[in-house]
């Protein structure tokens, strides 16, 4: 690995470490992170392939409430280094390695987020002193710690010899590696289940089965399903008695001078 590749890789690892916590730019999502690692190490096509498969596994790893999900950043970055770098692992081996890495990253993340409780107390004392620069500085420092949480393990992986990694993997029997790649085909259902559990209630379950049957029987593509889904949602919300009862009231009030704030929001949305 050339010095420039290592530097680029560490920048990507650092940014992924910050963004997996921010959950804003989604640089740590496998498809994007693995592609960036592939670009840094000069093997983009393997990076995209690994990223695409890992993305389907990681689809339900969400920051909801105080639950910390498996860590997409460490899983994507380190497995992509092993697949796109000199160790040159196969994509299916990369996926098998990514899962334990996601757990390791999750544990590290829990540790760092506990440490930041102490930093939050320093922020409290800075606030009492009206020290705005101090608060900014601590907030940036916290992000640096989160970035290093991924960048340091990534650096360690780059100095391990590729032969050692390959030797370790070749020692794994075929029934394990083949079984893992078979499981890679359906492990995504865990992610689906997590997303479904977040949204499901008796009112919306039928729409899951409509989608399932249409996808199983027809050959429509995902864009067509997206359009269908939006239309079904719009029609349901329009026709549901629950919303109709309320919207009549709102429409009635809209004509009068004393309009409710709900109309204000509706109007503000219309004006956008």
């Amino acid at each position: 690995m050339s010095a420039i590749s290592v530097i680029l890789l560490l920048i990507v690892a650092f940014l992924a470490g910050v963004d997996v916590v921010l959950d804003e730019w989604e640089l740590a999502q496998p498809l994007i992170a693995c592609t960036l690692v592939g670009l840094a190490l000069g093997d983009v096509s393997s990076g995209i392939l690994l990223g695409g498969q890992l993305q389907l596994i990681a689809i339900g790893w969400m920051n909801i409430g105080s639950a910390i999900p498996p860590d997409a950043a460490l899983a994507s970055i380190v497995s992509a280094v092993l697949v796109c770098g000199p160790a040159n692992l196969s994509v299916s081996n990369g996926i098998a390695i990514a899962i334990p890495l996601a757990v390791a990253g999750q544990v590290l993340n829990i540790f760092v987020r506990s440490l930041i409780v102490l930093m939050a107390h320093v922020v409290d004392s800075r606030a009492k002193a009206a020290d705005i620069k101090g608060i900014d500085g601590i907030h940036y420092l916290d992000m640096v710690i989160q970035g290093l949480r991924i960048a340091i393990p990534t650096y360690i992986v780059t100095i391990v010899s590729p032969q050692a990694v390959q030797g370790a993997l070749n020692a794994i029997p075929k029934v394990i590696t083949k079984g893992l790649s078979i499981a890679g085909g359906f492990v995504v259902v865990v992610g689906f289940a997590m997303v479904i559990n977040m949204m499901a209630n008796n009112e919306v379950w039928p729409f899951f089965f409509i989608g399932f049957v249409l996808a199983a029987i027809t050959k429509l593509n995902l864009i067509a399903f997206g359009i269908l889904g939006v239309c079904i949602a719009l029609i349901y919300v329009k026709l549901s008695p629950r919303f109709n009862a309320q919207s009549t009231v709102v429409e009635g009030a809209a004509g009068e001078e004393t309009s409710s704030g709900g109309d204000d929001i509706d109007r503000a949305l219309d004006e956008l």
């Binding site: 498996p70 930041i116 492990v187 996808a215 995902l222 889904g229 709102v250």
Partner: protein, 282 residues
């Protein structure tokens, strides 16, 4: 009546403050911690407002900073709306309106719950999984760099536009918005987003899973033609995607039994290895 107040209000926050707040809001979760979660990030987001309104008054600055270091937890994008409302309240307070600490705190506490209720299904339950699975399928069908670029651009265009307009709505409407949180718009949005999300999940279960049972059940030779019926063939006759559907329900059930997601992933790997070992899966 509310409109008259808005007109008479002596505005002191500038367009520049709006832009700075918008930019800072993107670092909300940088100091995510177990005690007060997004509190430092929310204060960080409010700093341009605090600087503008209380500059030179250390006592008021310190009080404002501490006001916004209380517990905060919601969908990240939605803090732009809560931030916009808080900006409007801080501005009124700085202009001499009788808005005390408790009012600001209760508005924040009162909005973060419902906002998470709307934001989580829309952003984490629908928009991201739909874009991610679409881009992942493009990546696996060999479209090269296009797939990650589509993911990045589509997600961030939606996210940045949402943050900007939510902040604007929050600031323009101020506390008016709080009175109407129970209104039909929020419920419509949540229900509509959940319907789209559930529909797409139903689509993805058969489409983005592969599972194959190569076990031969019967071999029949009719007029010299040999027909091989595998276990997979029988499942496909019943309904394609039936086994992934059953696996999904098993996962939903186990998650509701409080099983950790990462153990479920290991369980899936165990099923793959065991299935291959006994010759059921291939």
């Amino acid at each position: 009546m509310a409109d008259n107040e808005t007109v008479e209000k002596q505005k002191r926050l500038t367009h520049g403050d709006m832009v700075k707040t918008f930019w800072r809001a993107g670092f909300l979760q940088g100091s995510w911690n177990y005690e007060r979660v997004q509190n430092v990030g929310f204060c960080f987001q409010m700093i341009p407002t605090i600087k503008r309104l209380y500059k030179g008054d250390d006592k008021e600055t310190a009080a404002a900073l501490q006001r916004h270091l209380t517990f905060m937890q919601t969908t990240p994008v939605m803090t732009s709306l809560i931030g916009g409302i808080s900006m409007a309240m801080e501005e009124e307070r700085a202009n001499g309106k009788p808005i005390d600490d408790a009012t600001i705190a209760s508005v924040k506490v009162g909005t973060m719950g419902p906002m998470a209720g709307v934001g989580d299904p829309i952003f984490w339950g629908t928009i991201r999984p739909v874009i991610a699975s679409f881009a992942a399928s493009l990546a696996l069908s060999g479209s090269g760099l296009l797939a990650p670029i589509i993911f990045f651009v589509a997600w961030n265009a939606i996210r940045l536009a949402s943050r900007w307009y939510l902040q604007k709505i929050g600031y323009d409407q101020g506390t008016n918005i709080v009175a109407n949180l129970g209104g039909s718009l929020i419920q419509k949005l949540t229900t509509g987003a959940s319907i789209l999300g559930m529909f797409i999940m139903g689509v993805l279960v058969p489409r983005w899973t592969t599972i194959n049972f190569p076990l031969v059940i019967s071999k029949a030779t009719v007029n010299g033609k040999t027909t091989v019926m595998t276990l997979q063939g029988i499942f496909d006759e019943l309904l394609p995607g039936l086994i992934p559907l059953l696996l999904t329900f098993m996962c939903i059930w186990l998650l509701r039994k409080k099983m950790n997601a990462i153990w479920l992933i290991f369980l899936m790997f165990a099923i793959g290895i065991f299935g291959y070992w006994i010759g059921l899966l291939g």
